[in-house]
């Protein structure tokens, strides 16, 4: 054979799609479906983070709230020649774990009880206790304080919002568990979608695969080609899904600001940092799911070849 150089085909200079996967695994359906999954995942992550933030905020407020009810506040206390209410207030002021003392006024009591008892509670002539709101600065329940208050004004009730806080925690945990379940389901559905698309590609390119297999392609070569394609499509779809989710999340963040105790810093809503960080991670996770699913699917399928 005579040595003769021929100008190489331009096609030879770039990466060759040996199995024709650009047409076998089309670039519309798979990215669209993965994009939809990514959108749902972004909402689920936002739900998880929002639940955690709100719970932290609410638990902090509720858990530290101390409410003291003094029955018959005008009656004399056990000792000291003062009223029961004065004795209780003195004891509370003396306690190092109590701060922000505030005795609810008649108007405040009226507005609190109005939903249950009607327009004007004072006209009903009911023995309404005096209510003192304060902050409880300790982690444990105020048992010792309640005893001290009971000693100066028997029948006085002192309670924190710990019970409410634990209920809020349970609610938060269940919301977070639900959101994580949604994330898991979304990931599984994405994997199933990629697996189906890969199987369709395998069926469509069966002959090409048999040919390259016969020419000495390793299973890793063939699985790698499919995995690269699936990775690219999944990452692209997921990035689009995350981008579409962004304005929705910004809108939800603006709605949630008052509940999270966050005052708007500007007219532009801002996403919490953990959520901002998780959005770019979505295409990465989708790419990993795409790569792994395609590898498993193709390697399993290749076992049928000799």
């Amino acid at each position: 054979m005579a040595k003769r150089r021929i100008k190489p085909a331009p096609r030879a200079r770039r990466r060759v799609d040996q199995l024709g996967l650009r047409t076998a695994m089309a670039d519309r359906l798979l990215p669209t479906l993965v994009g939809a999954m990514s959108f749902l995942a972004a909402l689920a992550i936002a739900g998880t983070l929002a639940a955690a933030t709100l719970a932290s905020h609410w638990q902090g407020d509720t858990g530290s709230a101390l409410t003291v009810q003094v029955t018959d506040p005008g009656d004399p206390a056990v000792s000291g020649g003062v009223t029961r209410l004065q004795a209780v207030l003195s004891t509370l002021k003396a306690s190092p774990n109590v701060s922000n003392l505030h005795q609810l006024s008649a108007d405040e009591m009226n507005s609190l009880l109005k939903p249950w008892l009607g327009e004007d509670v004072t006209k009903l002539n009911l023995p309404v206790p005096a209510v003192i709101a304060a902050s409880w600065n300790q982690a444990g329940p105020p048992d010792a304080l309640a005893s001290a208050l009971g000693a100066v004004a028997p029948g006085t009730l002192a309670e924190t919002g710990a019970a409410w806080a634990s209920r809020v925690a349970a609610l938060t945990n269940s919301i977070q568990a639900s959101a994580l379940s949604v994330l898991l389901i979304v990931a599984l559905v994405a994997a199933a979608v990629i697996s189906v698309a890969t199987r369709a590609g395998l069926a469509q390119r069966r002959e090409a695969i048999e040919i390259v297999h016969g020419l000495g392609a390793l299973d890793s070569d063939i699985a790698g080609s499919f995995a690269m394609r699936a990775t690219r499509l999944a990452a692209t779809g997921s990035a689009i899904g995350a981008l579409i989710a962004l304005p929705v999340l910004l809108w939800l963040a603006r709605l949630a600001e008052p509940f999270a105790g966050v005052l708007p810093q500007s007219n532009l809503p801002v996403l919490p940092m953990p959520l901002m960080a998780s959005l770019p991670a979505l295409p990465v996770v989708a790419a990993l799911i795409g790569w792994g699913t395609a590898q498993i699917t193709v390697r399993g399928w290749l076992r049928q070849l000799a």
């Binding site: 054979m1 005579a2 040595k3 003769r4 150089r5 021929i6 190489p8 085909a9 331009p10 096609r11 030879a12 200079r13 060759v16 799609d17 040996q18 024709g20 047409t23 002959e207 090409a208 040919i211 390259v212 297999h213 016969g214 020419l215 000495g216 392609a217 390793l218 299973d219 070569d221 049928q304 000799a306």
Partner: protein
Amino acid sequence: MIRFVDVWLKYRHNGEASAASADVISGMSFDVPDGGFRWLTGASGAGKTSLLKLMYLAEHPYRGRIEILGIPAARISRREAAMLRRRIGVVYQDFRLLPHLSVYDNVALPMRLARRPEKQIRSDVSELLHWVGLSNKLDRRPNELSGGEQQRIAIARAVVVQPHLLLADEPTGNLDDEQADRLMLLITSLNRLGTTVVVATHNLSLVRNYPAPCLEISGGRLVHEG
């Protein structure tokens, strides 16, 4: 060395060799030494293609022992089998070209799978395509070419890696006399350089023109060797 010892083959259905299906290769035993040349002859349906499939590891016998290039085919891993296939060039009866690839990329495929440098691929593929007379059709797709041209691409693809074993199934079926002679010149050149060659054909005039030992099979059995 190719060695077949009492080899039996029947085609599998759903991955299993059914007891009811007929044997396509029955108790076949022969040796082809390193650097040897064998014609594989027999009528259509005699089992020539099936025998070649066993040689390029596309099928496994349900009984018997096969060695290809001195390697026992039954004991090798999938990776080793792939590596062994890279040392085997195959010209398929139906060409088996990839329709979505250009002529150039089809011929370059075995070299790319073997991870040869692109510079070497460019040189070897260009040279071979010139030799088979298709240097002006590098960018064409196989379906844009005639049967004879497709066969020449298939031949170029089979020999581009300078295989240790060349298996050809009716390689001159779509070629005119001149192209068939050029092909046989190429095959005998490779054989002289040490490549073991097995060519299946029912073209007896070709066998007469290029005398070499012959494996004649009929009904899946070896009926004559020599």
